[in-house]
Structures are given as C-alpha cells and as structure tokens.
C-alpha cells in the first residue's frame, strides 16, 4: 500500500502570479476548506514536499528557480499548475518576458484552471495529483526492489 496519497505535503511557489491564485491556495489550507482533512500540509521546503503548487506563469527570471525547486524535491513528486497563468501563461502569455505555462520549465501532472483558481478546484487537483503520486510511488518501490 502506498502512503504517498494519504499525506500529500505541498510546497507553494509564486511564479509571476497577480497573487489572486496565491490567496486561493492559502485559503485552501485555512479553516473554511481545511486541506488538512486530506493530510495536506504546507511546507516551505522542497525537500519535504510531495506536491509542487505553482501559481503564475514562468518568465525569464523565475524559470531557473522553478527548475531548482523541482529538482530539489525528492521522488515521488507531482506538479500542479494552479490557475490559468500557470497552465498556459494566461493573460500574460504575450508579455515580452513571459515564456508560458509551468510546463515550459518542468513536467506538469495536473492542470487546475481558473482565474483565480477556486479552492474547490485546487482540492480536486490535489486529489487527482495524489493518484499520480501513488502510481509514481509504486513505480519507485518496484525500482527499489529491482535493484
């Protein structure tokens, strides 16, 4: 049995978001929606996190940071693009400095659209991400055995 799905610890990174989605991400963890019901804990440290919540688009400045955080997370890990900017670049996609959605920098597992993304959507996205996490966890366990 994989326990990854029962304890999805998240790390939240604000790319070039307008902060609308960030407020919703934090609202998801607050009493109104209580993400901790599903074991969701907001960590500030990629080394402890399983799910990477990125808000806002990726631009020339932050692309390295996004990659660095992703690389520092340990397997199994899942990326959720939170909000339409994180999915595609959204309203900012034509800006001179914007590269596009998060998938331009790192592999994204779940897209959670919305402007701003609603907490319900986010919870759904995390639950969907958790399934991916479980699959990756099983694959990792098999790889370990294979060695």
């Amino acid at each position: 049995m994989a326990f990854a799905s029962k304890s999805p610890w998240v790390i939240h990174y604000d790319g070039s978001s307008c902060n609308g989605c960030d407020i919703e991400v934090l609202a998801t963890l607050c009493p109104g929606f209580d993400g901790e019901r599903f074991g969701v804990v907001n960590t500030g440290n990629p080394k402890h996190a399983d799910i990477f919540l990125v808000t806002g688009s990726v631009n020339e400045r932050n692309i390295e940071v996004v990659r660095e955080i992703y690389n520092q997370m340990l397997e199994p890990k899942v990326v959720v693009a939170c909000g339409i900017c994180a999915c595609t670049g959204g309203i900012f996609s034509d800006c001179y400095n914007v590269i596009g959605g998060v998938d331009q920098a790192i592999p994204v597992d779940v897209y959670a659209p919305g402007c701003a993304v609603r907490p319900e959507t986010l919870i759904d996205a995390i639950v969907a991400g958790v399934e991916v996490l479980d699959q990756k966890s099983k694959a990792l366990a098999e790889a370990k055995k294979g060695k």
């Binding site: 304890s7 074991g39 804990v41 960590t43 340990l74 199994p76 990792l140 366990a141």
Partner: protein
Amino acid sequence: MTLIQILIATVVFAVLAPVIGCFLAGLDRIISARMQGRVGPPLLQPYYDVRKLFEKEDAAVNTSERVYVVCALIFAVLSGGIFFGGGNLLLDVFTITLSSLFFIMAAYCTRSPYAEMGAARETIQVMSYEPMVLFMAVGFFLATGSFDVSAIAAAPGGPAIGKIILIFLGVLFILTIKLRKSPFDLSMSHHAHQEIVRGMTTEMSGPTLGLVEIMHWCETVLFLGWTGLFFLWGNPASWILALVVVALVFFAEIYIDNNFARVKWQFMLKSSWLVALLGGGINMAFLMLV
C-alpha cells in the same frame, strides 16, 4: 533496579512509545484543528506521514547526517527505557541531553544556513531548559530520598507533588520548550514554515525525517512520563491520577501552542532561567531548610 530490567524496558519502550506517541501526535493535530474551527486530519495522520517519508527517495546532503539522527534516536529510546524501567532519573536526564546533542550535530553537519541557524537556536533552547530539568531530578531526590524512578514511584506517604509543587510548575513551563510548542518553537516548528524554513530539519528528508518524527513521539511519551511521576506513590490508584494529570498537561500544552505567538530567544532564556531560579530554588531551599 537492574541493568536487565532497563534493557528490557528499552526494548518495550522502543516498540510501544512510537505507537503511543503517534496517537498523541494525531490527537494533537485534531485538537489543534478543532481549536482553529477546522475538522482536522484523521487520527492516524502522523502514521501515514511517517510511512510516506520512508517510501520517499533516499537522499541526503552528506552521509553523516543520518548517523547522527540514528544516534539521537537510540539515546532517546534508551532514555525512555531508563525512565520507564525505573532507572536513575539523573542518568535519564543526561541521556536525553546526549540525544539532543546528536540532533544538534546532525543539523550542524549539513552546513545549511537554515539548519545551522536552527541548531544554534536549539543550543539556546537546551541552555534554557537544562537547569530546570536538573532541579527536577534533585527535587525528586529531596522529596523522596532517591534518584531511582522505581523508588520515587513507590514512595510511601503521598506523591512527590505534595513537596515539590513549585518544581512541577517550573517543569510545566520548560515542557513547552521540550515539546517544541509555540511560543518556544524557535529552532524548528511543527507548523508550516518559519523564517528559517524548517530550522534544524531543513536538510533532513525522506527516511531521515521519518526517524526524527519517531524520535519526537518517543520524547513526547518520555516527557509526559516525567510529569506523571510527580503524582505517583505507593498506591496503585495513583496511576489513574497520574494519567488524568498527564492528559490535562497534554491538553494545556496544545492550548498554549495555539494561543501564543513565537517569542525571541532573549525572552525564552530569561523567563525560563527565572522560573528555574525561583521555582527550583525556593522549592529546594524549602525542602532543605524546613
């Protein structure tokens, strides 16, 4: 008290303490959530967390970190064995200090700025609570004439609390530091992240972090055991009293955790030393001179 008894107790503690500590941690999270108007996670959430951590990829900044954490865990378990095996309270106190030292070294050896900062704060935390912990051991000795937990717990004529109530209050004060509860969770917090990321455990990931969690469960059980010891005496019924008190203390710590903002180290050091000086000093002087 024999060596064999303590070693057996250590093994039993190593099995039971994580289980009890895990339940307590789950309870802590649920009660905290209710205090904040939330539903909170399932009771077994801490267990899920640790199982997940052991499933994670095995990675570390260096190879020493895990060794030190394992040492810290071993000494924490041994310390629990000494206490619940009825061993010497002073040795128990020294062993748990040894455990903290190894945990500090684990944090320092990563050379992460955040972990180092957390470790430096931890040394101040240890310095803050250490006098009161020593006075607790001496207080038990003065009240019951023995450092042996088995003798203290079977003391004739009433619990130690009757004679060392000030020391008990002092221990309650520093218990907040030892359990890493706000307002004294300077070196690492159980909640979210703080200005130094996650302090001492910043670089600890996966299985290493899992070991740290298990260590905290064991420590929680041990420290609550200390508070329970104040209420034990020769009467078997006293065990019920002690359990009730332990439950109350545990609830009080969660209440404090949820209602106070983190303080600066200056306040922590001064207040805990003042408490140790007044609570410990007055109480010990009273026992010696009266």
